[in-house]
């Protein structure tokens, strides 16, 4: 059953070949059997099975949609009424949200079953899932390796087939990089496409939720549920949402693929580069044309991001003061100490580093030199994409310079870890949609991801371009040994 796509599962549910209760139980048992991956922070079996029974009633009454009865894993950054929402942090380890995020509400309305909440880097700050208060997630392809991050739990869960699909969030690559490192399909929508309401804030001008699934077709089904205007999110964009499954099969003959020469230079792993070339050959066979483009300011993306994201994070995370919810230090002499000890004990090392960098960048006298300067560079980086898209329809390249790396190999050097997102970050800065799809393996059988970047609100085309590739390749159907 866990080998099936969402479309197949949906058909089975609607034909009454299987009930949502049986399906949910099967996945819950798989999660239990593979607890050593540490992909989930919270699993509430009774609640999931109750939701499944409600879905079965809907399926019986004919009031069902495409996703009714399908179990979905939710990244533990989306607030869920009545269940812990930890964001991978000690600060929120005891936090039970009193409301649902819009994304959760939409999945509930669609009749999906919430299978569990997935592990993640603390407050989504990390590229390896090693910053989680609940311990690292193991990559199902090689347990000595990280699954990527920050949506590492969601990625591992989908790769190991512990869930048919999951949600993630992406501020600098947190959907695409773990998708690449675990051999699954992940989509970061355009900024403003998916509501951020109830999604714990990291860097508000960059954060965006999206689907993580086995295939582009499954991702399209999820995006159909997730996308849409939300008046409760001030940056949500009011634009009609197409049916993302409708255009999956459209021809890509004549599609112009832009290759940014900056994405194929120093730092790119040889085997990754070779598999990306092979994927491009596949696209040529499908009738696409490859043109060279340039993103001359892309080398500035990392420095620019490491001002903007920490600055926004330091402001967003100021709310964790031990007063209204979350962790409070057990001992303190006065209010000042209560704040300082609560935050020192509640946050992990990487989060504290970023809060301090952000605080420094925003402190009196430094605003122009850091935040304003970075916002200007952001304009240049975004302008590069505008110019490139005059010559092509989509941009392709590697998602990550390397395949999954071993635990501890980058934890001592934050700057080395930051470089893991070198190809993904500029997409967030520009606010564009970006995808990662499986495009092969390296010599150690670790997955390689192909990144596809589109114009604003061109998610349907990204999914179409990814789907066509998945119709003629089977990388996305490979399952790690033992799963």
């Amino acid at each position: 059953m866990h080998e099936k796509s969402i479309a197949e599962l949906s058909k089975a549910l609607n034909n009454k070949d299987i009930s949502s209760h049986e399906l949910t139980l099967a996945y819950l048992d798989r999660i239990e059997a593979h607890r050593d991956l540490n992909a989930f922070v919270t699993v509430d079996r009774a609640r999931a099975l109750k939701q499944a029974q409600a879905a079965d009633a809907r399926l019986k009454s004919g009031q069902s949609g495409m996703l009714t009865g399908i179990p979905i894993a939710q990244k533990d950054i989306f607030c869920t009424d009545g269940l812990p929402t930890t964001c991978g942090s000690r600060m929120l380890a005891n936090f039970v949200a009193p409301y649902d995020a819009t994304v959760i509400q939409k999945f509930n309305t669609a009749g999906c079953v919430l299978l569990g909440k997935t592990n993640m880097d603390e407050f989504a700050m990390g590229s390896s899932n090693e910053t989680s208060f609940f311990g690292p997630v193991h990559n199902p392809w090689d347990r000595r390796c990280v699954p990527g991050g920050s949506s590492g739990g969601s990625a591992a869960a989908v790769a190991a087939r512990l869930a048919p699909a999951a949600t993630g969030t992406d501020t600098g690559g947190s959907i695409r990089q773990p998708a690449a490192l675990t051999g699954i399909t992940g989509l970061k929508p355009s900024y403003g496409r998916v509501s951020r309401y109830g999604m714990v804030a990291f860097a508000s001008s960059l954060d965006q939720g999206g689907p993580m699934a086995r295939s582009a077709e499954d991702a399209a089904l999820l995006l159909n549920v997730m996308a849409g205007f939300d008046p409760r999110d001030s940056t949500s964009v009011d634009r009609p949402v197409p049916d993302y499954t409708r255009t999956l099969d459209e021809s890509i003959v004549g599609l112009r693929i832009g290759l940014p020469r900056e994405y194929f230079g120093e730092g790119l792993g040889t085997e990754v580069g070779r598999m990306i070339e092979a994927a491009l050959d596949q696209y040529r066979k499908l009738g696409a044309k490859v043109v060279e483009v340039s993103l001359p300011n892309s080398r500035l993306a990392i420095p620019c991001y490491y001002v903007l994201a920490p600055a926004e994070a330091s402001s967003n995370l100021a709310r964790y003061d031990g007063v209204r919810y979350g962790y409070r230090a057990p001992e303190y002499a006065d209010l000042w100490e209560m704040y300082a000890k609560t935050r020192a004990q509640g946050f992990g090392a990487e989060v504290k580093r970023r809060i301090m960098i952000g605080t420094y960048a925003l402190s009196a006298g430094y605003y122009d030199a850091y935040y304003l300067k970075a916002q200007k560079l952001r304009r240049l980086i975004s302008g590069d994409f505008d110019r490139a898209f005059e010559r092509c329809d989509v941009i392709m390249g590697p998602t990550s310079p390397t395949t999954a790396f071993e635990f501890g190999s980058k934890t001592d050097d934050p700057v080395a870890m930051y470089l893991s997102d070198i190809y993904t970050i500029s997409v967030n800065l520009a606010g564009l949609p970006g995808m990662s799809i499986p495009a092969g393996f390296d010599g150690s059988r670790r997955p390689i991801g192909l990144q596809i970047i589109g114009r604003y609100f061109d998610e349907a085309r990204l999914l179409n371009v990814a789907h066509k590739y998945q119709q003629v390749t089977d990388w996305h159907l490979r399952v790690p040994e033992g799963f």
């Binding site: 355009s190 001008s205 580093r353 700057v415």
Partner: protein, 95 residues
């Protein structure tokens, strides 16, 4: 830009983070390294370029001034570390 222990103490104070004496040197070292990365920005002349805060340069929306939220004080205070009689409790700040 290289930070020293005094800079770290000042930043930690602004960020309301307790940083122990023995952690100061390590923070100074790592934060300086990150700032070194950030300073690559200075290689580019950005004179006359408009800062970008939203990818679509969207402004804030207006909404009708209507009451849409209901009173959920008890629910919200139910998850507070310390609350009593509708108030959040913190250490005394006024003598």
């Amino acid at each position: 830009m290289s930070l020293d222990r005094t800079d770290v103490e000042r930043i930690a104070h602004l960020a309301r983070l307790e940083v122990g004496e023995q952690e100061l040197a390590a923070y100074a070292e790592t934060l300086s390294r990150i700032l070194g990365l950030i300073e690559q920005m200075n290689a580019v002349d950005t004179e006359g370029i408009a800062p970008m805060s939203h990818p679509l340069d969207a402004g804030l929306r207006f909404r009708a001034d209507e009451v849409t939220e209901t009173d959920q004080r008890e629910v919200f205070q139910g998850i507070a570390p310390s609350a009593q009689a509708g108030l959040y409790l913190v250490p005394k700040v006024i003598e």
